[in-house]
């Protein structure tokens, strides 16, 4: 029996010993690797937003930039405010009127729209609502027909047919509703057809033919139609819009889509177009008083082009039916008629535009035939075309990237080797460092991407090879994982600051990224 117990103890000890044999950590070792990680070809259109870049027939890249200079907001001229009108229909006689009887009324009201500074004759609404409330003090069941001949949709005048029940002076019967004004047209010439801002109306009343009793009318009873135009918005209007003066003062960032560099830039052949287009049936006068830039240092430079600063008389557009023929005016600025090259080399960060604008400077010379389609009115825009023929001296681009990627779990000690073969005829020096507040850790400084040498004036270059070693260690990986920010600074130089070189669409940088160092391999995690 003792032997049998020993046997069981033996089996148990053996079982526990074997049960301890399980994996508790990954297997790791450091392997000295030389491995290509990535390869590709970087071209200028990979870096700059497509809409800003285009190549001309020779393949020369042009930086193109378009911007509306001003929003004149002309639809505000014909802005119809919320309007409330009470149209009162008096019943002049007393009596007991049987069902179906047309009750005599005393009514001659017009709707006066609240449009203070213009004299509108016609308009088309793109949105808004008309709320109505009918109030009857008549002791009888009535059918009230309220018509607005000047408010039409698809050519049909708007008619409100409203049934009422018994009311009294002390407790009038009230009912109401609303309609969506989208797509309605307005005739604002009134009942006479010669005035403005007025809409004709008609009102008739009969005793409801199905009423059980006659209506008891007392002279002096009335039926009131209360109308409320809520947020009426026009898509078209005509009439006389009055004389208006605007002071335009706009400021916007030039480098919204890219970080503007600092340093010295020499450009050649930049062109700027300032275009003014008038699609409104109003004469106008525009007078640019300032078009200047402010660079990153806060210095300002005015763009000099004499004709731009002379008052421009802008003729009204011509309308035939729904077709509008707009009038356009253009200014072309280049190196020969302006300081545009210097202005661009100044690297403006902000552009300031100031202009005085007068509408209808000569008054109502068309007898109230101004018109406007609010979707297409008066515009001024600037377009900039900069052929990338550049001379650069320490032209520096810098960007800071927030590191938000998943944590790197790799352990690597060694170099990331960037091999690059560049067609660009400019040298690039690159600094990379990780920052966290005032704490900074450089990854690489002054890593040089050599410039290709020009072999022809038409942009043929002999590519230059460069090797850039990025030393990576556990400290850098730790900082990377601690969500530091990555600062990239690239400084560009052409061989000569004054002699410009073209940047063509066939230029690119072939690159390969290679890991050369000790990489810790993990298995069994």
């Amino acid at each position: 029996m003792r032997n049998c117990r020993l046997l069981i103890v033996f089996v148990c000890v053996l079982s526990f010993a074997l049960a301890g044999c399980k994996r508790e950590e990954p297997t790791t070792w450091d392997s000295s690797v030389l491995v290509p990680l990535a390869h590709g070809r970087l071209t200028l259109d990979n870096i700059i937003v497509d809409s800003l870049l285009s190549a001309d027939e020779s393949g020369l890249w042009n930086l193109r930039f378009n911007r509306d200079l001003a929003d004149f907001n002309l639809d505000s001229i014909v802005n119809v405010r919320d309007t409330v009108v009470n149209l009162e229909c008096n019943l002049p006689i007393s009596g007991s009127f049987n069902p179906g009887f047309v009750v005599p009324v005393d009514f001659g009201e017009e709707i006066h729209l609240n449009v203070p500074s213009v004299q509108l004759k016609h308009a088309v609404l793109k949105s808004g609502r008309l709320e109505y409330t009918l109030i009857s003090s008549v002791n009888g069941d009535l059918i009230c027909n309220f018509e607005i001949p000047g408010l039409k949709k698809n050519g049909q005048p708007e008619l409100f047919v409203v049934s009422t029940n018994l009311g009294s002076s002390a407790a009038p019967y009230t009912t109401g509703g609303s309609i969506d004004l989208s797509g309605y047209s307005l005739d604002l010439t009134g009942a006479s057809g010669t005035t403005f801002n007025r809409i004709a109306t008609n009102f008739n009343i009969l005793v409801d033919p199905l009423a059980p009793n006659p209506a008891q009318v007392i002279a002096g009873d009335n039926v009131i139609m209360q109308l409320h135009f809520v947020h009426p918005d026009l898509t078209y209007a005509d009439g006389y819009f009055g004389e208006h003066h605007y002071n335009l003062n706009e400021q916007f960032e030039v480098g919204e889509n890219f970080n503007l560099p600092s340093g010295v830039l020499n450009l050649d052949g930049a062109q700027m177009h300032v275009d003014v287009r008038n699609a409104v049936g109003i004469d106008a006068q525009m007078h640019f008083t300032n078009l200047s830039g402010v660079n990153a240092s806060g210095n300002a430079l005015m763009l000099n082009h004499g004709p731009l600063y002379v008052p421009l008389n802008i003729s009204r557009a011509v309308r035939s039916g729904d077709q509008v023929v707009a009038n356009t005016y253009a200014y072309e600025l280049n190196a020969s008629n302006s300081n545009l090259d210097a202005f661009m080399e100044f690297l403006p960060k902000t552009l300031n535009v100031a202009a005085d604008v007068v509408l209808n400077p000569m008054g109502n010379i068309t007898d109230g035939n101004d018109f406007i389609f609010t979707a297409d009115a008066l515009e001024a825009s600037v377009s900039l075309d900069v052929p990338l023929r550049l001379g650069m001296h320490d032209l520096a681009f810098a960007d800071t990237l927030e590191i938000t990627a998943d944590a790197l779990e790799e352990v690597f000690n060694g170099d990331l080797v960037l091999w690059a073969k560049s067609d660009f005829p400019c040298e690039a020096k690159c600094d990379l460092f990780l920052i966290d507040g005032s704490d900074s850790r450089s990854i690489v400084e002054n890593a040089t991407l050599h410039a290709a040498s020009l072999t022809s004036a038409m942009g043929q270059t002999a590519a230059a090879e460069s090797f850039i070693h990025l030393p990576i260690d556990t400290d850098i990986i730790t900082r990377w994982n601690a969500n530091h920010r990555l600062v990239i600074r690239v400084t560009l130089n052409t061989l000569s600051q004054t002699d410009v070189v073209g940047i063509y669409d066939h230029f690119g940088i072939d690159f390969k990224l290679i890991a050369n160092g000790d990489y810790q391999i993990h298995i069994g995690e």
Partner: protein
């Protein structure tokens, strides 16, 4: 009753924790003067063995590969510098429960009885050259500008379960067992040649293998999952020498095959793969795109075939000769072969001393197999006269020293009723 519960507990723990069957029956069963167990109704014998070895990798390295840990550069360098032209490593593990029916007579001859077995088996073997080892564990940096041959290389793993019925001789325990084999998993990577070139600058790595990769149904996992089915034959021939002077044993294990099911795959690795890093151009041109890793496996494979195939089980053949000298001593010699691509034949010699009819100790010196050489020891014990216990190892050094090249152990526990 209490004893019965203990016995069931012991057997259960044993079956779930012991990994391997030693190839041959405990010699004490055949050499002991106490043959009382043969007069019992039955013998239940549970056996297990686990074996891990290499002629070039040491226990420390293999332990870290299996159980985890950091393998430092110096250790890798030491192993590499001591490697031969072609190196081997392997493991084998199994557990088996056998039931010998001594009571019933199978044929008119009362010496034959029925036996039943249930076993699970795991085997893996690799053969590799030092260049492959160096490339994996030291990296390719030192091969910049060179073309190296990573082949020949083989890696085979297989696991299976056996459900067997057989007959045995009640006097000698010789017998034959036919088993239904349930294939669990199979992998075979055989590469005759694999040229790898790393360019001087490291911008290109080219791999041109020539070989095959076969694997069983990967959608199934676990014990007896139905990935394959087959048959196996196990043979034991035990010949006692006259006048109880010793014995000769010949054993054949796992003579059979498995037909792996229709979802199995066969790949021909014969395509040159060139790796130049991720192509980031699509990402550069379409900034919203995500980078996707290329499938290196697809680059290497030109022919994939899905379907059933037949693969042999890893056969083992064992020969043992024991002869008495003096009153209670035996000398022993043996030979084992595993005809696969990695293992070499193993020979061993040893001596045993029988302290009584119920207790014997042995010492052995072995050479070959997956490892180099080993000094082994074994204890056999028949407590209570109805139990049989055997425990041993072929490499004592492997249990003590991490610098040893093999570690194994085997245990048998049986009881007669």
């Amino acid at each position: 009753m209490s004893m019965s519960r203990n016995f069931i507990f012991a057997i259960s723990v044993f079956v779930v924790s012991i990994q391997m069957v030693h190839a041959q029956l405990p010699s004490l069963l055949l050499l002991s003067d106490d043959s009382l167990y043969r007069q019992s109704n039955a013998l239940v014998l549970a056996t297990g063995e686990a074996r891990l070895g290499s002629n070039s990798l040491d226990i420390s390295f293999m332990k870290k590969m299996v159980l985890g840990g950091h393998i430092d550069k110096q250790q890798i360098s030491d192993l590499y510098s001591a490697m031969g032209n072609q190196n081997r490593a392997g493991y084998q593990a199994a557990g088996e429960l056998s039931f010998y029916n001594f009571r019933d007579t199978l044929f008119p001859d009362p010496t034959w009885g029925l036996k039943a077995t249930l076993g699970t088996n795991y085997h893996g073997a690799a053969s590799f050259n030092p260049t492959l080892f160096s490339t994996i564990f030291q990296g390719n940096q030192s091969f910049a500008g060179d073309t190296i041959d990573l082949g020949p290389f083989s890696l085979q793993t297989q696991s299976w379960q056996k459900f067997g019925l057989g007959i045995f001789n009640k006097k000698t325990l010789s017998g034959i067992t036919l088993s239904l084999v349930e294939g669990q998993s199979f992998q075979s990577l055989i590469v005759q040649q694999a040229d790898m070139h790393t360019s001087n600058t490291g911008d290109t790595i080219t791999l041109a293998p020539a070989g095959d990769y076969w694997r069983s149904d990967t959608t199934r996992s676990g014990w007896a999952n139905g990935s394959g089915v087959g048959v196996a034959l196990d043979l034991d021939y035990n010949l006692p020498l006259q006048n109880d002077m010793g014995m000769i044993s010949i054993s054949v294990r796992d003579l059979g095959f498995v037909k792996w099911n229709d979802a199995s795959e066969q790949y021909a690795l014969n395509h040159k793969a060139v790796w130049t890093g991720l192509d980031v151009n699509p990402w550069l041109q379409n900034h919203g795109d995500t980078l996707s890793k290329p499938n290196v496996e697809d680059s290497l494979v030109t022919d994939r075939r899905q379907g059933a195939f037949v693969a042999p089980l890893p056969l083992g053949v064992h020969l043992r000769y024991m002869k008495r000298f003096g009153r209670n001593n035996y000398y022993e010699a043996g030979w084992s072969i595993w005809p696969n691509r990695a293992a070499v034949p193993q020979v061993y010699a040893g001596v045993s001393h029988s302290f009584s009819n119920h207790f014997m100790m042995s010492g052995r010196l072995s050479l070959g197999g997956y490892t180099r050489w080993g000094l082994g020891a074994e204890v056999q014990w028949m407590p209570c006269g109805t139990w049989i216990v055997r425990a041993g190892t072929n490499a004592i050094g492997g249990l003590i020293f991490d610098a040893a090249h093999g570690r194994d152990g085997y245990v048998s526990i049986g009881r007669s009723f």
